[in-house]
Subunit: 322 residues, 2 copies
């Protein structure tokens, strides 16, 4: 299937309008993959061409369902580029399978969008410099929310504004649960060699179980539930402030203790996480070389452009293999 300009333009038009790629079906090309025999032919061709010419499977979905296809891709000796966190945060067996050939998989945009977080960590680790400790603020949404709450605004109000600005997922509890940050932390922890699963991570949710999406409809949460959380968060912000600190939703990964947790933590106002403003992401890495003066990488950690640039840089990076 050739992606000519006409199809690419139509694809952009559909995606910009909030549509799905399945709306492309009237172009005919997508039907190819609904046909078993055609699919087999494509895989046969991939098997022949994959290793020699550099075929890469790029997964920019947010689906858990792609992991089996990706494992097949590994077996075919082809390359993988991911913006999708799910395949790397499934079981540790799946993770280990996907990184069988570590140089054939790139996934910069799974953590901090295009911020050169994974590329930098990989460089440090490959040079034999052991990473002791990582602290990160890896959710632009939670970063924005905590900066606003710090200014004295009630959490409930900040969440509503963030939702109306499109900063949150359609159900803001998908952000407030911390699970998105936990997945990013898991990817980083596994890169450091921790053989852990998502369930091993201590995750602090910003709402109690009884306000969860399975229990409380979204409007009940936004109009009622979240109001009950205001005073507790405000008290914690005030207490932190009285100690010269600020509250941030952070991930902390320690190599020696295999500690990996995400949640609200206090940081000094003039620390890399403490001075974070708005929706910036930041990663702070301590290693043998970056000991007293850690490596700090900061910048826009969300957005279509940045994520796409990260995916494209990954694809281009793979060309060195061929």
């Amino acid at each position: 299937m050739e992606l000519n300009d006409k199809i690419l333009l139509e694809t952009c038009r559909i995606k910009l309008g909030g549509g799905s790629l399945s709306d492309l079906s009237n172009f005919g090309e997508r039907k190819l993959f609904l046909n078993t025999e055609a699919t087999k032919k494509v895989i046969d061709i991939a098997t022949l061409l994959g290793k020699s010419t550099g075929l890469a499977c790029v997964d920019c979905s947010a689906s858990s369902d792609t992991v089996n296809v990706l494992k097949q891709v590994v077996d075919l000796g082809c390359c993988i580029v991911l913006a999708n966190k799910k395949p790397l945060t499934s079981t540790i067996e799946d993770f280990n399978k996907l990184i069988t050939h570590p140089r054939r998989i790139r996934h910069e945009s799974t953590v901090g969008a295009g911020l050169p977080v994974i590329a930098s960590l990989t460089r440090i680790l490959s040079s034999g410099d052991p990473v002791h400790h990582i602290i990160g603020s890896l959710s632009g949404t939670l970063g924005y929310i905590m900066s606003e709450v710090e200014k004295g605004k009630p959490l409930s109000q900040v969440v509503k504004v963030a939702k109306s600005l499109g900063y949150t997922e359609p159900d803001p509890r998908d952000d407030l649960s911390g699970m998105d940050v936990a997945r990013k932390a898991l990817i980083l922890a596994r890169l450091l060699g921790q053989q852990i699963n998502l369930s091993d991570i201590k995750v602090e949710s910003l709402f109690p179980k009884e306000m969860g999406p399975d229990v409380m409809p979204i409007n009940d949460f936004l109009d009622g539930g979240v109001l009950a959380l205001d005073s507790d968060i405000q008290e914690r912000v005030t207490n932190a402030s009285s100690r010269g600190n600020v509250l941030r939703y952070a991930c902390v990964i320690e190599s020696s203790s295999s500690r990996c947790e995400v949640g609200l933590q206090e940081f000094p106002k003039d620390s890399p996480l403490g001075r974070l403003k708005g929706s910036d992401n930041v990663l702070v890495v301590y290693s043998r070389c970056y000991n007293e003066q850690p490596l700090v990488i900061q910048g826009a950690g969300a957005g279509n452009d940045t994520t796409a640039a990260g995916v494209l840089a990954d694809i281009l990076d793979l060309q060195d293999l061929f």
Copy 2:
């Protein structure tokens, strides 16, 4: 010539003692390269093996004399890894020759030691994200000096302490002239496509010409000359402070105007350069993707360990080509 453990240990012993590699000559192996016929044989072997097996020439010297050898290395189709800034800051013709095959040359440790500055910039540029603007503090020595002067200490005293701590070159004027920062700025500007030479960069020296190394002996400078600079610097620091700013020795590179200059500049106290402390380096990159929220990379930008880790990561990165 095989580098066995005995030779490597002896090499480390000599270098740790402040000696030169030429002290190794009694091992016999080095003589190989003083013999024209043997040199020719080595080059013939490189020609045969270079492209297929991945031969890399690694230059960790601080010499201008290696550039001709490196240009030969390019012609042989071999790879180059540099910690040495000089080959990339010679003429623009030499630079363009060395980057003939951009993927076969790596030079992370030429700017900010092992900080992933070049790797990150290369990723951004290769993804088609145009870089508009770079601001950096790329001298740990000048960073330390300006932080100390900011605390109210006289420049003359700070320079002497920095020298005694081994933070400066043997003649601190090699740092204070700004030429080391100018070379780093030139490498970054050329990466952005500016076809400029070192002489095109506006460089602010922290001492006047009449105190230069060719005119004034080092002890006269340290015991006399530098004292005359104290009040001027202190006045600039005070003026900046009255505006809520701090003085930093920075490099500024602008793509649109081909501006490339290094010197003392004022920055707001809470900007990435303004809050820099001690000998940390920082690079701030503005591009289409990193527009309002720039990419900031900060950390230890000097030191043997960090520089060596950067060189090693570069070498390992090249393995993808083979």
